[in-house]
């Protein structure tokens, strides 16, 4: 047990040193890389390692007679969560999300320190000591709080009310509900039943399974099936259409959506908001092809009311591309990102 705790303490100490380095900007925040494709679970595992490390440290310090009071354990852990989110995770997390995480962590710390009566008493003790102010130091602290707390509240209020020049936050609806049907080049397409006519097998029939096997590996960009390179001139059917879609993409779309389809094209940062990132699992990966067809055809100007404030400069591509070209470019987007379009069967 002691050996296990020692390992934990070691992990905790190293992790804390790294974090402090990141906070002081001595250690770059990507020293331990967040690996593409594994980032979400990596973050949770990292936090779990920190927790294990803190348990080990706490155990070791107690064994050495230098136990950290429960009050400071609670405050310290909460501070750690805030600092981890601010300095370790990159790119920076928006304040609204950090505030949510900070609140949940505070609640979690409260649940931990008050889970039983003994712990709660230990946690409260320093607060009660200051409130009772039986010693000189506590008396001084109490006076300090008497001044500091109103000042802090005043400053926070002032800061909140102070006129700012930055743009306000927006609650954008990124995926507004599509219409039941859309009319493109004089033909009406029912979104729930239409299919990409180029998602076909060698026999020329619509085949989702067939095309699913020929895409690249998600996040890695490697071919999933050998000899499934769409840029092979001999290709026919699905892969040929992917190539044609790719040509259309690089002639029209990549300036904004990027040559890696990650929304970081040449002009991307001239726009606000920047173009959609197709490699994110929350964009095309969770939409039907017909949804993409509708959005590409109608562009930002064709967003429905709920898409307010229409913050999109996406052109209505039906004015520049044929229906076939739109379907092919969609085929390419799914192939390149490695995602499967959503189906409703």
């Amino acid at each position: 047990m002691k050996a296990l705790m020692s390992v934990g303490a070691l992990v905790g100490a190293i992790a804390l040193l790294l974090l402090v380095g990141m906070i002081l900007d001595v250690v770059p925040s990507n020293t331990v890389r967040l690996v593409e494709g594994y980032m979400p679970i990596q973050m949770l595992l990292e936090v779990a390692c920190f927790v294990a490390g803190f348990t080990g440290l706490s155990y070791m310090l107690s064994s050495m007679g230098m136990a950290v009071p429960r009050f400071w354990q609670g405050i310290g852990f909460w501070a750690f969560v805030l600092l981890y989110l601010k300095f370790r995770v990159y790119p920076p997390i928006p304040f609204s999300v950090r505030a949510m995480y900070g609140t949940v962590s505070l609640v979690a710390v409260f649940m931990w320190v008050s889970a039983n009566e003994d712990d709660w008493k230990k946690f409260k003790q320093p607060i009660m000591n200051v409130l009772d102010a039986q010693s000189g130091a506590n008396k001084m602290l109490r006076y300090a709080y008497l001044v500091l707390i109103p000042v802090l509240v005043g400053f926070t209020s002032f800061n909140a009310m102070r006129p700012k020049s930055e743009e306000p936050v927006e609650l954008r609806t990124v995926h507004p509900a599509p219409p039941a049907s859309t009319k493109v080049h004089g033909k009406t397409y029912t979104l729930q039943t239409s299919q990409n006519p180029y998602r076909v097998n060698p026999e020329g029939k619509f085949d989702q399974e067939y095309s699913n096997k020929l895409i690249v590996e998600q996040g890695m960009g490697r071919l999933m099936a050998p000899n499934a390179n769409p840029f092979d001139e001999k290709n026919q059917g699905y892969l040929k259409y992917v190539k044609e879609g790719g040509e259309i993409f690089f002639q029209n779309c990549h300036f904004c959506h990027g040559d890696n389809l990650n929304g970081r094209g040449l002009h991307a940062f001239a726009f606000n908001p920047i173009p959609a990132n197709f490699t994110d699992p929350g964009t095309i990966a969770q939409l039907q092809e017909t949804f993409i067809f509708w959005r590409v055809a109608k562009g930002g100007i064709g967003l429905p009311n709920e898409g307010f404030p229409w913050a999109s400069v996406m052109p209505p591509w039906e004015q520049h591309l044929t229906v076939d070209e739109i379907w092919k470019v969609i085929l390419f987007e799914y192939w390149h990102t490695g995602y499967y379009p959503r189906t409703w069967d």
Binding site: L34, A115, N116
Partner: protein
């Protein structure tokens, strides 16, 4: 005829009368059910003029027997109004009626369960306590019942006076159903009063069983009532039994049995039960905090625990029922599903996730606090911090929005709408994992609580403990593994992954509870549960549980209703009032908070009325001896 025999005969007659009351509305309505109003008669007379229509949902043909849905225009004829937004008035009246309706439908089910536990329990003192508890429950609901009826009246008047065209259309479609509903309400009232006033007269032996049977009838009537009311909102969301113009096609079953009726029914039953449990638990918590004697504290501590346990028992399957409802919504209209989960109303779902998390966190916290009143549970205390960590991680994943609220500067710094790390938590695969982790942890907390003051004496206890530990460990691995795997497969397959995840969670619930019960049979007691010796914080957790549930009910009701957007009846009858727009999130949140506040203030009044009646009961007649409080069957 002896007194006892006469009592038996009367009680059987009363039971038969209740069954009669239950069947009466159905029998009365049978002719209209069978023939679909007077359609065939009209058809015979004017055979040449028969017009047929196609059912918008069932796609069957039927004879048109109703008028088309009115095309309303904004004006005093279709939308008479005060100098105020009519929709908000309706919202308020509807929400209050729903709160009270849910409460008075849920509490009799609790009564039935608790009374049954009292009847089958061999320990006489405990049986008496259960019986008293059930009686306390029904007493609270009786005052609330009158208020429910009053609020129902207010709701109908609000509809009639502010939305006459819409209500006229709805009542023309549901004419027979509304009459059955009214008759069922009479049956419910009659049954409830006989059940309540017959309590003392039927408290022993055979008569008690008759009394218990009455509660079954009462609950059947109540549940049917709710099903009928659900059919109206089901029709408004996913109409059936009418053609494209909204003309009734003569088949009332089609109108009732819409695409969303069954999932709504299930979701509401479970929701009502969890809500009812929460309200009663909050009542007990309030009484506990106000108690001046150990005896009272012990009683209300126990009452709070039972109500919480019953409520949480229905809270656990509630997310799965909600999942089924959403699945059916998507199947019915994908636009509706996207509007709810990914579009206009998606932010409200993030708030909903936050509230669900609060419910489970409060439950866990209460259970940990409750372990403090039993000796021997200390051995679990030091592991609670790990449960907190698991719960917090599951919760954080569950509430992470896919599209974050941020300033344009933050957006640019982040490099896109979705955060490359946290954005992944915003999709369904991760959220399914998050909520299942939370529920599984709640099950684990319950298992710890149930074995808190006991040590298993079965010969295979060591093996049993290892097995349970492994079961939970692999359950977590399976749930999290499937959540990760969900990112690498097509969306339609991913949706199916929720089934093994839910199955894992439910396996933990059923198998581990069952195994734990077997292991703890004849277990060595480390000490009795000291009812009343629980921290005040636990009671605040119960109040938090109830408040969060009330708020969530208001929120979900609003989401379900506003998903129709600018339709009174989806795709059939358009809302042409000036208020056919979706409120801002802030306005909706304020309105929900106002409804919650009003409900709690009014229910406190109901509790106060109940306490006035209680004060008349001589102290000596109080049941149970809390000092030697037996352990309720529900806790172990």
């Amino acid at each position: 005829m002896g007194l006892v025999t006469r009592k038996k005969v009367f009680s059987i007659m009363a039971l038969c009368a209740m069954v009669g009351l239950l069947l009466f509305p159905v029998v009365v309505s049978l002719p209209s059910l069978a023939i679909g109003a007077d359609a065939p008669d009209a058809a015979k007379k004017e055979d040449a003029k028969v017009e047929k229509g196609r059912d918008v949902y069932y796609k069957t043909e039927g004879i048109v027997v109703g008028a088309p849905a009115p095309k309303t225009v904004d004006g005093p004829k279709d939308y008479p109004r005060y100098n105020f937004e009519s929709r908000v008035l309706l919202w308020f009246a509807n929400q209050q009626h729903l709160y009270y309706g849910s409460f008075v439908l849920a509490v009799p089910i609790f009564c039935m369960v608790v009374e049954f536990m009292g009847v089958v329990t061999k320990d006489k003192a405990l049986a008496k306590r259960y019986d008293q508890l059930a009686y306390d429950f029904i007493k609270i609901s009786l005052t609330a019942y009158s208020l429910t009826a009053v609020l129902g009246g207010i709701l109908i008047f609000t509809f009639l006076t502010l939305y006459p065209a819409f209500f006229g259309y709805l009542s023309s479609i549901f004419r027979p159903v509304m009459h059955i509903y009214a008759l069922m309400f009479v049956a419910e009232s009659g049954t409830l009063y006989i059940y309540y006033y017959g309590w003392d007269k039927m408290k022993e032996g055979f008569l008690k069983w008759i009394h218990l049977s009455m509660s079954v009838i009462l609950n059947i009537i109540g549940t049917l009532l709710m099903f009928l009311a659900n059919s109206w909102i089901g029709f408004m969301m996913s109409p059936a039994g009418v053609d494209e113009q909204g003309r009734f096609l003569g088949n009332i079953w089609h109108v009732l049995h819409t695409a969303l009726w069954n999932p709504l029914n299930l979701h509401r039953i479970l929701g009502n039960m969890a809500f009812g449990g929460g309200v009663v638990a909050a009542y007990a918590a309030y009484k506990f905090l106000a108690s001046k004697t150990d005896e009272d504290r012990a009683h209300y501590d126990w009452m709070g625990y039972i109500a919480m346990a019953l409520g949480v028992a229905f809270l656990i399957p509630l997310p799965f029922a909600g999942y089924w409802l959403m699945r059916e919504v998507y199947a019915y209209r994908q636009q509706m599903g996207i509007t709810l989960m990914g579009g206009l109303l998606a932010w409200l779902f993030i708030i909903q996730a936050t509230m669900i998390g609060i419910l489970f966190l409060s439950t866990n916290y209460y259970l940990w606090q409750a372990m403090g009143r039993m000796r021997g549970a200390e051995k679990y205390q030091r592991y609670i911090k790990y449960l907190v960590f698991i719960l917090a991680c599951g919760y954080l994943v569950f509430i992470t929005p896919h599209t974050m609220v941020m300033t344009p500067a933050e957006l640019k710094a982040m490099g896109g709408q979705q955060h490359p790390v946290l954005g992944n938590y915003g999709v369904m695969s991760a959220k399914n994992g998050g909520i299942n982790v939370i529920i599984t942890t709640t099950v684990l907390s319950f298992v710890w609580y149930m074995r808190g003051n006991k040590v298993s004496t079965v010969s295979w206890s060591k093996f049993g403990n290892i097995f349970m530990g492994c079961f939970f460990f692999f359950a977590y691995v399976n749930i999290i593994g499937l959540a990760i795997y969900g990112y690498y497969i097509p969306a339609n397959v991913r949706v199916g992954l929720s089934v093994p995840q839910v199955a894992t969670t439910l396996s933990c619930l059923f198998f581990m509870f069952a195994l734990n019960s077997v292991m703890m049979k004849g277990a060595k007691q480390m000490g009795a549960i000291e009812w009343g010796k629980i921290s005040a914080r636990s009671q605040y957790a119960l109040i938090m549980l109830a408040t969060a549930f009330t708020w969530m009910m208001g929120l979900m009701g609003y989401i379900r209703s506003s998903v129709r957007l600018f339709w009174h009846v989806n795709e059939i009858m358009r809302d042409n009032s000036p208020w056919a727009y979706t409120h801002t999130v802030g306005f909706a949140a304020n309105m929900i908070s106002f409804n919650v506040l009003f409900f709690w203030i009014s229910i406190l009044f109901v509790f106060w009325l109940g306490s006035l009646a209680a004060k008349k009961v001589p102290a000596g007649e109080k049941a149970g001896v809390p000092g030697s409080a037996p352990q309720p069957a529900g806790s172990h």
